[in-house]
């Protein structure tokens, strides 16, 4: 093809022309091989400037345009549009940055600046010569979203997306939605009842016509890419036909087997056939076969006999559900750091040392003590209660390095609620720093010290042990420089928040990144905090990092709006600056597959070659540099282009 490139040198008033001899540049480049037209103008981005480009394309049958002006970040889009208006493919328009990278930074030496401007423009002429005419890649899209995890974050995301008019599949692994928020008593900083604000949302999510709620289900497999995911969901056998069950609860009532209740954090029991808690949604039981007499010995079968609608089915098997979705929101939440890892605090062996979630249950009106704070060992009302912050958190040497963000606040809440419960009790909080970043949070903390006489002790506790029916606390008050010993009736551990135990495994199925500690990685910590790096995946709630409810909900709504933005187009469009493999040259070594951060390359085992999926490739170039056969190229930034550009820049 004959090259007919147009070069347009901008003065930018005196911004460029004051340093670079623009006339000389334009003249000199007119003679450069492949250049059909070269000119200069005062303000290229002005309407007359743009029109100049449009006209020249037509008049001189230009095959490419180099606007030599400011940084492409500023006006690349402007001039690409101008090119397109004259039927020149937008990807055949490039900018040479002779302002930010030249005139503005070399004001002292006009001659050298002019020479450098010429070199810069030459590199772009060489690039444009080989630029392909491309179209943005468009991918068909399924306008349905998958939300994984039915805690407050997942619920909020599902409702927001569904209310915007898109279908949602909400997958929750436990028998009910609600997540940890369902376990909480009252919530800081306003002390409203957690159940009261959560339950309506749980019900809404189960009744929304656009939401398909799949509880007691797990993600089995995910394939495809943004806009076109195929998801296989495992519906775990509940041994109750939950479509038939009317939730009468007779089976639960009559079941003779009891086991420790997960929802009550082991402080109470549940039956082998059970709903996790009274307000569960859906309020239909599942049967826990690991603890059921029938599954152990073939005896019992009471639940089946008593069920008035014959819903109990011991023969039920896991089922698989296939769904097609265009976007996936991950909201799998958190777990508490395992207390067994903290030997110096008894590692879970001291009865009256409880976790923070256990204490929530002791405070909860629907909890095992009916909301009266009673300690587990003997049911007595504890008079001396010690709360420990940063248990496992901020301990890079032995546990996790990060701050769990919410524990300062919830322990303050705990101390406060305890005092509201036991007026003559004494609450102590051992802390390193009290972190109260949030609206109304600091005031909440101040109230705890002012009004509720909570005593804050600055120091980290070294050891807890049992002695004479008390829990001995060996701490320190670094403010007075004294060792402190307290004989406590109850100790509450503000354990670190860690990602849900399934997070890492799930991340492998979804092929999205997790950070060092297993929280899902966001694309950018400040500017893209709710997107995963992999297109089509969005993050919400504590799955992305320790978070309280307001933050979890905000992030859920943000990821929902990202999903809606994606769904606002019929098709999914992306920059075509992707990599491609020359099938004839590929040796099938799979090196590229191992380096691609987006899993964009698939292996065609029939042909024994690798193939890049354009819809997924982000154009990073890692595979290109890694391919031992040098057979991968990037569209409009091929090796050949790079070599020519280098040569042009070095030409005298």
């Amino acid at each position: 093809m004959e090259h007919r490139i147009g070069v347009f040198v901008c003065h930018c008033g005196s911004n460029i022309a004051g340093v670079v001899d623009v006339k000389r540049v334009a003249e000199q480049l007119a003679d450069y091989p492949g250049v059909a037209y070269s000119t200069d103008y005062l303000y290229m981005c002005s309407d007359p400037g743009q029109n100049m480009v449009k006209d020249a394309i037509k008049k001189h049958s230009l095959t490419g345009v180099v606007v030599s002006a400011c940084s492409p970040t500023l006006h690349e889009a402007t001039f690409r549009r101008a090119g397109a208006a004259s039927d020149l493919n937008q990807y055949r328009v490039e900018m040479a940055n002779i302002r930010e990278h030249c005139s503005w930074v070399h004001r002292g030496d006009k001659e050298k600046a002019t020479e450098k401007a010429i070199k810069i423009i030459k590199t772009m002429i060489e690039k444009v010569k080989q630029n392909e005419a491309l179209e943005p890649i468009s991918v068909p899209m399924t306008h349905r979203a998958l939300v994984v995890g039915g805690g407050i974050a997942g619920i909020q995301a599902a409702l927001d997306i569904a209310n915007a008019g898109h279908d949602v599949v909400l997958v929750e692994k436990s028998p009910s939605v609600g997540g940890h928020m369902a376990q909480l008593s009252e919530t800081f900083p306003t002390l409203d009842c957690s159940q009261c604000i959560l339950t309506p949302k749980m019900v809404e999510v189960s009744q929304h016509p656009r939401i398909r709620l799949l509880t007691y289900c797990e993600i089995d497999d995910v394939s495809g890419y943004v806009g076109n995911f195929k998801v296989r969901i495992r519906k775990k056998a509940a041994y109750v036909n939950r479509d038939v069950c009317n939730g009468c609860g007779l089976c639960v009532e009559k079941c003779p087997r009891t086991v420790a209740s997960e929802f009550e954090e082991g402080l109470a029991t549940r039956k082998a056939i059970y709903t996790p808690f009274a307000q569960a949604v859906p309020n239909k039981p599942v049967l826990d076969r690991d603890n059921c007499t029938y599954f152990e010995s073939g005896k019992c079968g009471i639940c089946q006999k008593i069920c008035p609608v014959n819903a109990v089915d011991y023969e039920q098997k896991d089922e698989f559900i296939e769904e097609e979705v265009g976007a996936i929101v991950v909201a799998t939440g958190f777990d508490l750091y395992p207390v067994v890892n903290i030997g110096e605090y008894g590692g879970g062996s001291i009865e009256d040392v409880v976790t923070s979630l256990q204490f929530e249950r002791l405070l909860s009106a629907s909890g095992p003590t009916g909301g009266e704070v009673r300690r587990p060992s003997d049911g007595k009302i504890p008079k001396e209660v010690v709360f420990l912050t940063c248990v496992g958190s901020r301990d890079p040497e032995n546990h996790v390095s990060y701050c769990s963000k919410v524990c300062c606040m919830y322990l303050t809440k705990h101390a406060m609620l305890y005092k509201h419960n036991v007026h003559d009790g004494q609450a102590y909080v051992f802390y390193m720093d009290v972190r109260t970043g949030g609206k109304g949070y600091e005031e909440f903390y101040q109230r705890a010290t002012e009004e509720d006489d909570v005593l804050y002790l600055r120091g980290k506790v070294s050891k807890l042990f049992e002695e004479d029916g008390k829990v001995m606390v060996w701490g320190v008050d670094t403010l007075t420089g004294r060792k402190v010993e307290i004989a406590a009736d109850l100790v509450v551990l503000g354990l670190a928040m860690v990602p849900n135990s399934t997070a890492v495994e799930l991340s492998k199925k979804l092929k999205i990144q997790v950070s060092e500690w297993g929280f899902y990685s966001e694309a950018h910590p400040k500017l893209r905090p709710v997107e995963s790096l992999a297109p089509g995946f969005y993050l919400a709630g504590a799955a992305q990092g320790p978070k309280d409810i307001p933050d979890a909900v905000a992030q859920a709504s943000a990821s929902a709006s990202k999903v809606c933005a994606l769904f606002s187009e019929k098709e999914y469009h992306r920059e075509p600056i992707v990599a491609w493999i020359d099938e004839d040259e590929c040796s099938g070594c799979k090196v590229c597959i191992s380096v691609c951060p987006y899993d964009a390359i698939e292996f065609d085992s029939e042909k024994g070659i690798s193939r890049i999926q354009e819809a997924i490739c982000e154009g990073c170039g890692a595979c290109i540099a890694a391919c031992p056969s040098a057979t991968i190229q990037q569209r409009n930034l091929t090796d050949s282009q790079l070599y020519k550009m280098v040569s042009a820049a070095l030409e005298d």
Binding site: I342, G343, E344, G347, K463, F465, E466, E467
Partner: protein, 304 residues
């Protein structure tokens, strides 16, 4: 089976009872503790300053002697174990100090005369340092040990005291999987049939060498440990270290003076207890050095 054995000076002087009981038990279990032909004091404390070379020389020499005899060396005293194990790590990982130490060793003519051959190669951490209890668990096996038990110590409430030196620093000692809640002695005691008394002070310090400088401070420490075991109705405490034994047992004399209503409790070495279970003759199990005589407590359970 022969295993090189480093007794350390205390076991050759003040803690002969420990040495004797341990050798006898090993014999019964089919292990011959082969004492290093030459050895010196290990230095008793591992120097925590990074530039120490002279201070670890003695320990390296002992390790080097041991390396001529086998790939392991067994020791009993917690202090020796700590010093040898940590020194060994220095020799394995700290190239600069290793080089310096070997320079000294090469120049050391006295050593050369005694053990000409080992100097053919530098000492670079060839041996593994093993505590006797680790040997019982990993070489003999607690289950095999249990098979040799003649008298199961049923009903005997024993509090296992670990102290500091076996466990810390955990990253280097790796003596037990759970530094804060170790279980190796519990498993040992269970194999002998004892009732294990779990007491929260089992990993707390007995006062260590401070006993010779500031008796009051050290006794305060050891009393905390003793009282904690007594409170949990232990019949006796076992330990692995002559210094712990000294602080916990001998100093009960002082505790009696200081604390009204103080209840004494016998403290013996773990291999002495093992000896009883294995039915070893009284002549090898000498309790004459103990301040609190363990025999009444043992007699009560018909064990002596």
């Amino acid at each position: 089976m022969k295993i090189p054995y480093y007794p350390g000076c205390t076991l050759h002087e003040r803690a002969l009872d420990f040495d004797k009981a341990s050798r006898e038990c090993a014999n019964v279990l089919g292990v011959e503790l082969e004492e290093l032909p030459v050895w010196t004091c290990c230095g008793a404390v591992f120097p925590l300053t990074t530039d120490s070379v002279m201070e670890i020389l003695a320990a390296v020499r002992n390790l080097a002697y041991a390396s001529r005899m086998g790939d392991k060396v067994v020791t009993l005293c917690s202090f020796c174990y700590n010093v040898l194990k940590r020194t060994n790590k220095v020799m394995r990982e700290d190239g600069e100090r290793r080089e310096k130490v070997n320079l000294f060793l090469r120049a050391d003519t006295e050593t050369r005369d005694k053990i000409e051959s080992f100097l053919k190669e530098d000492y670079v951490g060839q041996v593994d340092v093993l505590h006797y209890i680790e040997m019982l668990r990993d070489v003999v096996g607690f289950d095999k040990m249990a098979k040799h038990v003649k008298t199961r110590l049923e009903g005997l409430r024993v509090a296992p005291y670990y102290g500091c030196m076996l466990l810390r620093p955990h990253g280097e000692m790796k003596f037990d999987e759970h530094p804060e809640q170790p279980t190796i002695f519990e498993d040992f005691l269970t194999a002998l049939g004892c009732d294990v008394v779990d007491f929260p002070m089992k990993t707390e310090c007995c006062g260590g060498f401070q006993i010779v400088r500031d008796e009051e401070t050290a006794i305060a420490c050891s009393q905390t440990v003793v009282a904690s075991a007594v409170k949990r109705d232990a019949d006796l405490i076992i330990t692995t270290c002559p210094l712990c034994l000294y602080n916990l047992d001998r100093k009960q004399k002082e505790m009696e003076k200081r604390v009204s209503g103080f209840r004494k409790i016998p403290v013996i070495y773990f291999t002495q207890l093992l000896g009883i279970a294995l039915g070893i003759d009284d002549e090898h199990l000498d309790f004459s050095d103990n301040y609190v005589d363990p025999r009444p407590a043992l007699a009560e359970k018909n064990l002596v």
